[in-house]
């Protein structure tokens, strides 16, 4: 982590506040803190914030706020970051059915790591994963914290079609495909929950700084939730601890 944040120009309408050059929870927590503090300040001229692993891209209108004044105000906010108590991160529960037709590669992941399928499920669902950022495709979250015990290389030949909701492993990462797309991740399960629904009032539920908790479910529960989600009646459980 840097002693002081770096302010980098991203064009005439963008300013990057960079807190470090590493993927770590403390750095990402700074990004979250800055994001929340700027939102709370309701500073004029700022129209969008993009939090990422170690920096925050601030999109501003220079006709509403001058660059010098913007940097000055942001530096003040940054100085106070250590002193303010951030709200506890949200933990979003993602019901997930593991293995079988829903996670075709669970067997391979188990074999690759010398574990049983149940052990893989247990390890995968026993940790809360921090969402460092969203990107790549709408609703795709970059998660951190997966146990190396279940790390598995990507498929040699990527699949052309992966159903939305698929949960996969690629190297030391785990993630969920928010919508149908091609991809090379080892698929270990699937969630019936819709993580991306452009027609919904909250099109994307996950936010940077949240944690994801995978909750293993069986086929009956999967069908039940899938049915509710299809009717837009399923409410994703979000807890704070």
């Amino acid at each position: 982590m840097y002693d002081e944040a770096r302010y980098l120009m991203s064009g005439d309408k963008g300013l990057v506040v960079e807190f470090g050059n590493e993927i770590s929870e403390p750095v990402n927590e700074k990004v979250r803190g800055m994001y929340l503090a700027i939102q709370k300040s309701q500073m004029p001229g700022i129209y969008e914030l993009i939090p990422t692993y170690r920096s925050l891209l601030i999109q501003y209108n220079p006709l509403e706020i001058e660059i010098d004044s913007l940097i000055e105000k942001l530096s003040e906010i940054e100085k106070d970051l250590g002193a303010i108590d951030l709200p506890k991160p949200r933990i979003v529960e993602i019901p997930t059915i593991y293995g079988g037709e829903f996670g075709e590669d669970l067997g391979f992941v188990a074999e690759h790591n010398g574990l049983s399928e149940d052990e893989v499920i247990k390890i995968h669902s026993s940790i809360d994963y921090r969402i460092y950022m969203l990107g790549f495709t709408p609703g795709f979250s970059y998660l951190g914290g997966m146990s190396e015990k279940i790390a598995t290389p990507r498929l040699k030949t990527p699949r052309t079609k992966i159903p939305g909701g698929s949960v996969g492993i690629a190297g030391k990462q785990t993630g969920i495909y928010p919508m149908e797309s091609p991809g090379g991740w080892q698929l270990i399960g699937r969630t019936p929950v819709k993580l991306y629904d452009p027609a919904s009032e909250t099109p994307i539920i996950l936010r940077a700084g949240d944690y994801i908790r995978f909750i293993p479910i069986d086929k009956d529960e999967y069908d039940y939730i899938h049915d509710l989600a299809g009717k837009k009646q399923y409410k994703i459980k979000i807890v704070t601890e």
């Binding site: 980098l8 120009m9 991203s10 064009g11 005439d12 309408k13 963008g14 990057v16 960079e18 050059n21 590493e22 993927i23 129209y47 969008e48 914030l49 993009i50 939090p51 990422t52 692993y53 170690r54 920096s55 925050l56 891209l57 999109q59 220079p62 006709l63 001058e66 660059i67 950022m133 969203l134 990107g135 790549f136 495709t137 709408p138 609703g139 795709f140 970059y142 919508m179 452009p198 027609a199 099109p203 994307i204 996950l206 936010r207 940077a208």
Partner: protein, 345 residues
Amino acid sequence: MKDIVIINPGLYTTVQDRGRWGYQEYGMPVTGAMDDYSLRLANILVGNDEYDAVLETTLNGPEISFNTDVVAAITGANMVPRVNGYTVPMWRSLKLSKGDVLSFEMAREGTRGYIAFAGGLDIPPVMGSRSTYVRGAIGGYEGRKLKSNDEIDLRDKNLPIEQLADRIIPPQYIPQYEDSCIIRVIPGPQDDYFTEESIEKFFNSEYEITKEADRMGYRLSGPQLIHKAGADIISDGINLGSVQVPGHGMPIIMMSDRQTTGGYTKIATVISSDIPVMAQLKPGNKVRFEKIDIREAHKVLKEYENKIKEIKDYVNSYQLNTAGMKRYNLKIEGVSYEVMVEEIV
């Protein structure tokens, strides 16, 4: 039958407005019209909100027929618009009548044309925008580019059409599209990842737009840029106009359909008011990059916005004086035409 019928969609025609802002933190690309200037002027001409949804055409315009009287304005690339086979002016609002057919040719200058309709397009907004995001299959017309036989209604049909027709953009505000141009950029956010020689090369060389140039980004070719120690960074935010340089050392300019984050170094960012210039370039065209200071860039942006405001005031206050003109209805080979004739003294 709806008001507007697409007979032939042209190469790549989509519905676009200013874009889907507010969701980048969730990984949702902004999209929106590539050429902000042409978008806004087209809408100003027909009396719409500056950022209302229009049709964005690419290289080869569509063929459209109308089932109602409409006022339309065509801006951007010169695709030689014709109504019922007769050429009509661009950068001017035109009254089109029920049964008219609007057609285009291949672009002579520029790449992207814009067609705005008074009253706007009746396209349902998705996440606050009518812009089409083709890769994500949302927004615009069923989330895709237009096809033959697609039909679109006008949103507001009760407009004073006569008053909105024949409004013009003064000639000094009509852009000239060149095959090579200078694009102003602000260095950073990762200019420090490049060798000094490479930075110098970037600012003193000509780069060509390759065939890999679409709404997402323009891949350029030219002198290779060398990183001090690798092209990969920990993924961070991408802005409109970000100039990404992956390991191969060739710049990529990120445009409207850009992804929100990325893991390549960004040597510089194109300033907002030069994005419309970029948007009109096509493969084979050449660019040179010129460094501009952030404060200078903000002055340029202010001038750009003032210019658009001036145009808007002008268009709204001025109307072609048709009082001294004579209107005739001509019938040629069974088709009726309304013709205005001005006596030249």
